[in-house]
């Protein structure tokens, strides 16, 4: 179980195999430095920069005193024609690893070099020079480790290229045991195919693995003795730091957060990397025992974002681009998922001015919007003036009609020749006319006043505090908002004005 491995107990044993590539867990260690030096030397050697290669191998040995470095240094000196240093280095090699599988061939090589040196000193015909060193003459360093250490270990070399695959229970013709020891074991090997076997030991299972040894490389093995098999190494990185990594099973707990590297079982796997606000990344792959795989998950933002609306009204309705999208009920912020981009947001609350504004929905992020509603300006005075205006205008119309009727009657009487100069109706008609004009004047003034009262609005419009976008699930902003604070604001309620004080704790 991967999860189990994340909670590795002390009695769980691991064995890891590292190929030529750098190994994550060993970065910065002496072995890593030696590996790099080994690789550097190998590279220089391939470029026929033998002096530099010899220096690199020497530096590698100084970092990690593995005999393979000495052998390679010796080969470099030999290629450089510095036989004396070559002999000395080969001798140090034999001293450092007396049981080296190629000890005899190294001694023979020393002898040939010494002969060449002697002939050179005597100024006589030198003996035939030793065979020119080749690139594949480089030795590889194979490190076999286990936890706990001390496990019996054998290293078999396939000497017959046609030999069948190594099987412990068979004779394994074509295979030659080149090393026996206990972990940790460092073997200096020629390039070729080998089979490493850690026998059943104490309560631990047997572990084994084929190894293709390359010249001038450092091979590092680590055995999981409890499981009895070799593991692969997986490293997952992501463009989003902290992205959740799921391995094989989405429903399980995350394997970890990016970046993460860990041993995994060989075989087929599927990695899924998720981060809030990003489209998930998935990749399926097959990894073999001892193999290292790097997966770099580049996550793309999702095409949508969220608006989180709350406000100072206990309840309000929200529309986005004219569509009703929900109602804020005064508790939890209204969460609105919208395609990223600018949207027209409208919030309506009873007794409050409508809030309306263009708000940018962030790409793959959330944006908190705190609507600050302002009370609607009271229209009581306007309605009172309007009703009064209508009443006065009506009265003016009525009185005017009365006056007109009297005037028409009197005019008709005059035309009929029966109007007296002191007709009492004239006084009444004048009074009605004056009353009508007065009523019209008052009605007009009140109408203007009512219109003004209907139009004017001394209160500011409803607004909103629009926060900066933040990633999904980021609580930072909310924490900031809960800092204690005190605020003052003008307050208009039912025509009464005052100052409101509010606090947040």
């Amino acid at each position: 179980m991967l999860g189990g491995r994340r909670r590795t107990p002390r009695w769980t044993w691991l064995l890891a195999l590292a190929l030529a590539a750098p190994v994550a867990w060993a970065e910065g260690s002496a072995i890593d430095a030696a590996k790099r030096a080994m690789e550097e030397g190998q590279s220089l050697y391939a470029e026929k920069k033998y002096a530099e290669a010899a220096a690199a191998f020497a530096r590698a040995y100084s970092l990690s005193p593995y005999a393979a470095f000495l052998f390679n240094e010796g080969v470099s000196h030999e290629r450089l024609g510095d036989f004396e240093h070559a002999v000395a280095t080969f001798q140090r090699y034999l001293s450092a690893d007396p049981t080296a599988p190629d000890a005899e061939s190294v001694r023979a090589r020393i002898r040939k070099l010494e002969a060449a040196i002697a002939a050179k000193k005597e100024q006589r015909e030198p003996p035939p020079p030793p065979p020119a060193a080749k690139e594949d003459d480089m030795r590889a360093l194979v490190l076999v480790e286990s936890d706990p250490a001390g496990a019996p270990t054998e290293v078999w070399e396939r000497v017959d290229p046609g030999a069948a695959a190594f099987r412990a229970e068979l004779d394994n013709a074509g295979w030659r045991k080149v090393m026996t020891g206990a972990t940790p074991l460092a073997a200096t090997l020629q390039p070729g195919k080998y089979h490493v076997v850690i026998d059943k030991w104490r309560t631990y299972n047997r572990s084994e693995s084929d190894v293709e040894v390359a010249a001038g490389r450092v091979h590092q093995f680590k055995a999981n003795l409890s499981q009895g098999k070799f593991m692969a190494f997986l490293r997952v990185t992501s463009s989003v730091k902290g992205a959740q990594i799921y391995l094989d099973d989405r429903d399980e707990e995350p394997w970890g957060t990016a970046p993460r590297g860990e041993l995994v079982k060989p075989g087929e796997h599927k990695v899924r990397v998720e981060a809030p606000g990003y489209d998930p990344f998935e990749e399926s792959f097959t990894i073999e025992a001892g193999q290292r795989r790097e997966i770099d998950a580049t996550l793309e933002r999702v095409s949508y974002g969220y608006l989180l609306l709350d406000g100072n009204a206990p309840r309000f309705e929200v529309l986005v681009d004219g569509r009703p999208v929900g109602v804020f009920e005064g508790q939890k912020a209204l969460r609105i998922k919208e395609k990223a981009g600018r949207h027209r947001v409208v919030a309506r609350a009873d007794g409050k001015k409508v809030f309306e504004d263009e708000i940018e929905v962030p790409l793959g992020q959330s944006r908190e919007v705190h609507v600050v509603f302002v009370n609607k300006y009271g229209r009581g005075a306007a309605w009172t003036a309007a009703v009064g205006s209508v009443a006065f205008l009506g009265a003016g119309y009525y009185l005017g009609q009365k006056s007109n009727k009297i005037y028409d009657d009197m005019k008709a009487d005059r035309a009929a020749g029966r109007l007296t100069g002191d007709d009492a109706r004239a006084g009444k008609g004048r009074a009605y006319a004056l009353g009508a004009d007065g009523a019209f004047a008052l009605g007009g003034v009140l109408a203007v006043l009512a219109t003004w009262e209907f139009l004017r609005d001394p209160l500011p419009p409803s607004g909103a505090q629009v926060d900066e976008p933040r990633d999904f699930g980021d609580k930072r902003r909310k924490a900031e908002r809960t800092r204690p604070s005190v605020a003052f604001a003008p307050l208009v309620l039912d025509g009464q004005r005052g100052l409101a004080i509010g606090g947040m704790f």
């Binding site: 009609q401 007109n404 035309a415 020749g417 029966r418 109007l419 007709d423 019209f440």
Partner: protein
């Protein structure tokens, strides 16, 4: 801008110009002549006109008479007054114009009593002229003995229009008295008179109203309203040519005149019934009273927009005639002082009937000031102003004035 807005408001009802009433009441078609101090209560209850002079008095007691010069506008103050001792001017009869007595003009005859404490010889039928002159008419002895001489309460025996009735036409003046049940006609010089013989069937209230009619059928009509009778006398011989009758009290008010070559007698009961009688068309029986039949045409008081109804209007309370429209023909004026005009109680009105046309009298003008309790039309007459007659109506009620309807029936500046 403000002015435009103001005008806009005004245009809604066009009522902003209260001053338009000033223009409306300037030079009104009706001029009111206020009661002069020399005239007592109910000024305008008695009216007469002639020679461009209007005489008006009160009724029934302590009412003097004032003479105004008719004109446009009429003089607001009287030229002269008569019977200024108001206690003598009780129950004056309708002052009646008499033409050129003793070479004078603008003279009117009225019944004038004595002062309460004075037994002088000025009581009787007295003529008053606009020039201030006065003259006394002879009266029958019976009348003198019964009405003038007996005591301190002359001319106050009956309630309506006194104890003497006067009427004139042309150069003839007739008089009657229900107190003595007699009627008499004066000679043109007013120096003598002759009592017409009273038929036996006409006793009660005979002489309450008289009318003198010129024209082709000259007649001296004497009414006995208690019997609904009107006795038609020959003005020359005085003999009764016959009698016409309606239901009593027909004959309370009478007016005779000539129009379109016919002699007409308008008879009213002062309570809604007014008949216009073509005297020539009557089939009379010298020995009895007959219905006027087709010779009489009733003048109706019809409800109009101004007049809700005629009940209590006292249609026919006063009668007069004149050429209001200046066409040379006469119009009959009928007073209805109890008319409720435009829902104003007892405002009173004057109906003007044109007598032309074959369909009979036709109401052509309705005159009223529609002022409460004015009782306009309690007395009416027609005064010559300019080229035509104008109606003059007494307003003895609230305002106690004369309403001179200067507009008449000819539209002029006052009628616009």
């Amino acid at each position: 801008m403000r002015r435009l807005a103001w005008l806009g408001l005004c245009a809604v009802t066009a009522s902003c110009s209260w001053s338009r009433y000033d223009a409306l009441t300037k030079d009104p078609p009706v001029v009111l002549l206020e009661r002069p101090a020399s005239v007592g209560a109910r000024f305008g209850a008695a009216l007469g006109a002639g020679d461009g002079v209007v005489i008006a008095g009160g009724q029934p007691a302590q009412a003097g008479m004032a003479l105004f010069v008719a004109g446009d506008p009429p003089a607001a103050t009287p030229v002269t007054s008569t019977c200024t001792d108001l206690s003598r001017c009780r129950s004056t009869a309708t002052p009646t114009h008499v033409p050129s007595p003793q070479g004078r003009s603008g003279c009117f005859v009225a019944g004038i009593g004595r002062g309460e404490a004075t037994l002088d010889d000025t009581a009787g039928l007295v003529g008053t002229c606009v020039d201030g002159g006065a003259f006394k008419l002879p009266v029958p002895d019976s009348f003198r003995a019964r009405v003038i001489e007996p005591g301190l309460m002359p001319f106050s025996i009956v309630g309506f229009d006194g104890v003497v009735a006067l009427a004139s036409a042309g150069n003839r003046l007739g008089a009657g008295s229900p107190e003595t049940h007699e009627a008499w006609l004066y000679a043109p010089d007013l120096a003598s008179f002759s009592v017409v013989p009273r038929p036996a069937y006409a006793v009660k209230s005979y002489g309450m109203a008289v009318a003198v009619v010129d024209g082709p059928t000259p007649t001296f009509a004497v009414a006995a309203p208690a019997g609904g009778l009107v006795v038609l006398h020959d003005p020359v011989s005085g003999a009764a040519r016959g009698c016409i009758r309606r239901a009593a009290p027909w004959g309370v008010v009478m007016q005779g005149f000539t129009d379109a070559g016919k002699s007409w007698l308008a008879v009213s009961d002062a309570a809604g019934r007014v008949d216009l009688v073509d005297l020539a068309a009557l089939a009379l029986d010298p020995a009895s009273c007959v219905e006027p039949g087709v010779a009489a045409r009733a003048l109706s008081c019809a409800a109009t927009e101004d007049l809700a109804g005629c009940d209590g209007a006292a249609f026919g309370f006063a009668l007069a005639h004149g050429d209001l429209d200046g066409d040379g023909d006469q119009e009959l004026l009928v007073g209805a002082p109890g008319a409720n005009v435009r829902e104003v109680p007892n405002g009173g009105a004057v109906f003007v009937f044109d007598l032309e046309g074959g369909d009979g009298p036709r109401e052509t003008l309705f005159l009223s000031d529609a002022q409460a309790e004015d009782q306009l039309g309690s007395a009416i007459t027609a005064a010559r102003v300019g080229g035509h007659d104008v109606a003059v109506a007494g307003v003895p009620g609230t305002r106690k004035a004369l309403a001179v309807f200067l507009c008449g029936m000819s539209p002029g500046a006052r009628c616009k």
